[in-house]
């Protein structure tokens, strides 16, 4: 039972915040309770780390892998909560319930990270999705968030349908919902049921990860959702889904089938190409980052497929990449959300023209985040990409690596366009004037330092991801 502490604490925090709102409606109070809950959850990972690995009920497996991803998710949620505090103050909404939804979403993503069973897989996904409907449309007086909420609802329902159908087929073929038992039953199961089932599950997951060609919802939702929520969708929710994808495929030896390898290769190439090419012409920073996230998920898939040579290396590369991506993405969306006002978010690249000459630190931070996304040294993104390429090369995935290199040069172009705008010396600029909330300023400072730290001295983090024990 002790191994379940992170889930218990997260659920408890959600309930306590909800009760707290009922008795005393105050933004600061709800925010403090949320922070306390998330901090307690993070802290609980240390004692839990001593009792793992442990299977808790057939549904959840608590091991180093699950703990690492839960840690990432909760830390990202903490960052999102801090961003949301400043952001919601500027919005004409009642802010308190936001935190309840956020905690529930974090719970869903964490359950996914520890899931070893179709039931917990589906439950986690639905907890996450339902909370996200609300979060997406939270500033409900504005049209774009509502649109984002509806779009996300339709998408999530569609992907859940695919997933459920796939799960049913696999269940019909193997007679079990447990990943480990399934691995035993697969060799004798009828392939006519297993293959379509696995394919449907992959499609459902691809929707959630926004892999091309299942990415169409991404730019609209990223643009419409409030910036802190976009940060959450881009980070915590994807980490949970990636964790379950890795566990599901690796437990089942999924990459032993040539069809699965082909499918993952196609998804990776399509995502890298589509994401980077479509981002080229964007003039809206949030949409640009949405397309860039599609491309980045493609890069992560390259690391994922490196499991052909060694699942442990692939899991470590994915874990490290997601860490770097989290720091970077939270930083980028954090800046957007920290600069938001009641009038709206600074979305257009034009809003950032010449920012360096007025707010040098902000501009340098945003430039560093963008260069990290582009994979330039001194930033976390460089080492993450290096690790992905190294893992891919070790698995001799030369085609994928070549596509990665070429598309990331294409990608460099649009990041550089924003960087050039930041440092532009022309004076016809629309200033981003908003003062930064102090909590968000601190958070961004921490993320910036983290970005450089991971980029220059990654050894502690590498040890952490290399110790992820996967069966």
């Amino acid at each position: 039972m002790a191994a379940l502490a992170p889930f218990v604490l997260l659920s408890l925090a959600a309930v306590v915040v909800m009760m707290g709102i009922a008795f005393h409606r105050s933004h600061g109070f709800a925010f403090s309770l949320t922070l306390a809950g998330l901090a307690a959850t993070l802290w609980s990972l240390w004692p839990v780390a001593r009792v793992i690995p442990r299977q808790v009920t057939p549904l959840l497996r608590m091991d180093g892998f699950a703990l690492y991803f839960i840690g990432l998710i909760v830390a990202a949620t903490l960052a999102v909560a801090i961003l949301a505090y400043g952001y919601l103050k500027t919005q004409p909404v009642r802010p308190e319930e936001f935190y309840v939804l956020l905690l529930v979403a974090a719970l869903g993503a964490s359950v996914l990270a520890a899931s070893s069973h179709f039931v917990s897989f589906f439950l986690g996904l639905e907890i996450l999705s339902v909370a996200l409907y609300g979060l997406n449309a939270y500033p409900h007086r504005r049209a774009l968030p509502l649109e984002a909420g509806i779009k996300y609802l339709v998408l999530a329902a569609a992907s859940a349908a695919f997933l459920l159908f796939g799960m049913a087929l696999v269940y019909a073929a193997t007679g079990t919902l447990d990943f480990a038992a399934m691995a035993g039953a697969l060799p004798s199961a009828p392939q006519a049921l297993v293959l379509p089932g696995a394919a449907l599950i992959l499609v459902g997951i691809s929707f959630k990860l926004a892999l091309a060609p299942f990415h169409l919802w991404t730019p609209d939702v990223y643009q419409g959702a409030p910036a802190p929520v976009t940060a959450f969708i881009a980070t915590a929710s994807k980490a949970g889904i990636f964790a379950v994808l890795i566990r599901f495929f690796y437990d089942l030896g999924g990459l032993h089938s040539p069809g699965a390898v082909l499918a993952v290769t196609v998804l990776a190439i399509a995502s890298m190409a589509v994401g980077n090419l479509l981002a080229l012409r964007q003039s809206n920073l949030k949409r640009l980052l949405a397309y860039s996230s599609i491309a980045h998920m493609g890069y992560v898939l390259v690391a994922f497929e490196a499991a052909l040579a060694s699942p442990a290396v692939a899991a470590a590369a994915v874990g490290f990449y997601l860490l770097a991506y989290f720091v970077t993405t939270l930083g980028a969306f954090g800046l957007i959300s920290a600069l938001s006002t009641a009038a709206g978010e600074p979305e257009s690249i034009e809003d950032y023209r010449g920012l360096f000459w007025r707010r040098p630190w902000l501009a340098l931070m945003l430039a560093a985040m963008l260069l990290s996304l582009a994979g330039i040294p001194l930033t976390a993104g460089f080492l993450a990409k290096f690790y992905v390429v190294a893992a891919g090369a070790a698995a001799t995935l030369w085609l994928l690596i070549l596509v990665l290199v070429v598309t990331s040069v294409v990608g460099l172009y649009y990041y550089l366009r924003v960087v050039v705008a930041l440092f532009s010396t022309s004076d016809d600029s629309a200033p981003v004037a908003a003062a930064m909330p102090p909590a968000a300023a601190w958070l961004l400072g921490v993320l910036f330092v983290g970005l450089i730290w991971v980029g220059v001295y990654p050894e502690p983090f590498l040890r952490l991801v290399l110790a992820l024990p996967l069966r």
Binding site: A309, S310, A312, V313, A316, F356, W357, P360, L371, I376, P377, L378, F382, F386, V389, A390, A391, A393, A394, T396, I401, L402, V405, V406, S408, V409, L412, Y413, L416, R417, V419, V420, F423, T425, Y457, P458, E459, L462, R463, L466
Partner: protein, 515 residues
């Protein structure tokens, strides 16, 4: 430790530059000059103390990222020493040249300039291939910003083009480095990016060729070799004076250095089989660069194309030395010529860009058609222009002549035809050199220019470069004595002696499965 200090002084001065700008507008310039002079002095005293020392003079070998077998390994031999001297010297020239040119964001400008030079110095010192790639990429962002912020009219286009070209080729090199690293791991079970250890990797000929091409791609774009030169005229023309000086004087040299330090020693047989292509492209580059330089009307563009031509000589010399019998005099001549050409081109082209910057600052144009007859109003500047133009076309008595002569001599023993073609390139260079002087400085002062002559600060930047070119043209032996030991090794020509490093402990992590 001294090697680390060289980098730390520059990086720290760069970080301080925006802060000291608050005290005084010129404080960043003085800080940068001081830091560069300190580094220059440190390296110079190393050189003077032991001008003929063979092998590695100094090394620094620290653990950096043991999980990947990455070490922070710096090493200084004769070749790196000469290039470092050039780096710090041209750095000072760049600071002096931008003294009045740069008025906006002075602190940030010097931050970029110094970090750029830190990256370049890192490239010349790195002996761990990962560290080398790290430094290689580290040069890009500051250079990009130098062009994009302080450049001329089409700066954004030029900056992005520069970045994309170098980044794509750099990533190809990264793949090659990783492939070499993994081959080494498969063969020995040791994860290392260590230069000396990777040199001993047994490679199949086809693998060796592919990996060599990955490195080659990066160095060819930087050098640049025809037909990968198209970023260069744009970047050189649009960059501010300091940016152009660093680009032409140093950044192109990192490509040549990479060939000498890594490609030749790591893949001797692959280089030999690929050499005919490289030699022919080098000869084409010499002629093509000279022809295009002749056709330019923009002063900076003209100088930029002369760089393509001169770097053709560097490439020719490097591959001539690779094909010549190991240890032969021809190989030695070619390599000596290459090192000298690297230094002299840095001085002569750097100076021409400084002159172009001075003219642009006063006249607000780079069009030679609008200049005419400047000698009458600016005799000192005209004289300097003539001097450096003559140096660029290889006038005997100046360093470039000795360098190109040695390269041709080495090439002649390898291929008479190519040596003849390259000699025609020297002839063609006379055209653009004379054209430059004639159009800009001679003739009547048709546009009625009234301009101030060279200031003392500008002369301070230019006169040492003249002196250096004269010295290298009349008595280049000290350069050969210093660079020479770098190229002799028991195993043959063109093989810098591998640095001695500690045996690597077998890594405790299982990062990659042994294929």
């Amino acid at each position: 430790m001294l090697l680390l200090w060289l980098l730390v002084i520059l990086a720290a001065a760069g970080a301080l530059a925006p802060l000291v700008h608050r005290w005084h507008a010129n404080a960043p310039r003085w800080l940068a000059l001081f830091a560069l002079a300190a580094d220059f002095g440190l390296v110079l005293q190393l050189w003077l103390r032991a001008p003929r020392l063979a092998g590695w003079r100094m090394q620094l070998d620290w653990t950096w990222i043991p999980a990947f077998g990455i070490r922070f390994h710096l090493g200084l031999d004769g070749l790196s020493l000469l290039l470092l001297l050039l780096t710090f010297f041209l750095g000072m020239v760049a600071v002096l040249a931008s003294w009045r040119d740069i008025q906006r964001g002075v602190g940030f400008f010097h931050l970029n300039l110094l970090w750029l030079l830190t990256g370049i110095a890192g490239v010349f010192l790195a002996l761990d291939l990962f560290l080398f790639y790290f430094a290689w990429e580290l040069m890009l962002v500051p250079m990009f910003l130098l062009i994009a912020i302080w450049g001329h009219e089409r700066r954004r286009y030029a900056a992005i083009k520069f970045f994309l070209f170098t980044q794509l080729s750099g990533l190809l090199m990264l793949i090659a480095i990783l492939a070499l690293y993994l081959y080494h791991y498969a063969a020995t079970g040791v994860l290392t990016f260590e230069y000396a250890q990777l040199m001993a990797t047994p490679l199949a000929p086809s693998a060796s060729l592919w990996i060599m091409l990955g490195f080659f791609a990066a160095f060819m774009v930087k050098l640049p070799m025809f037909p990968f030169h198209t970023w260069l005229p744009d970047a050189h023309t649009e960059a501010s004076t300091a940016g152009s000086v660093i680009l032409a004087g140093l950044m192109l040299k990192t490509g040549a250095y990479g060939l000498l330090r890594f490609v030749l020693p790591l893949f001797p047989s692959a280089v030999r089989s690929f050499a005919p292509w490289a030699l022919v492209l080098a000869a084409i580059g010499i002629l093509y660069g000279a022809l295009l330089a002749y056709a330019q009307t923009d002063l900076k563009r003209l100088v930029a194309y002369t760089s393509v031509s001169h770097m053709g000589f560097v490439l020719l010399g490097i591959f001539a030395a690779a094909v010549a019998p190991p240890g032969s005099a021809a190989a030695q001549w070619a390599l000596d010529g290459v090192v000298l050409e690297i230094l002299c081109h840095g001085f002569s082209t750097g100076a021409l860009f400084v002159l172009a910057g001075i003219l642009q600052e006063r006249m607000h144009t780079r069009e030679m058609g609008r200049m005419n007859g400047l000698w009458a109003v600016m005799p000192r500047l005209g004289g300097a222009g003539l001097f450096f133009a003559l140096a660029a076309i290889g006038l005997p008595g100046l360093g470039n002549f000795v360098a190109e002569f040695l390269i041709l001599l080495g090439t002649f023993h390898v291929s008479v035809g190519l040596a003849v073609a390259a000699s025609i390139g020297i002839l063609a260079s006379t055209f653009y050199g004379v054209e430059l002087v004639q159009r800009a400085f001679h003739g009547p002062n048709r546009h009625g220019w009234q301009l101030p002559d060279l200031s003392r600060r500008e002369a301070l930047a230019l006169v040492p470069m003249m002196a250096a070119l004269l010295w290298l043209g009349l008595y280049p032996q000290p350069i050969f004595n210093t660079a020479f030991p770098a190229f002799t090794s028991p195993s043959g020509a063109a093989l810098p002696e591998p640095p001695r490093s500690l045996p690597q402990p077998h890594t405790r992590y299982s990062l990659f499965p042994i294929p």
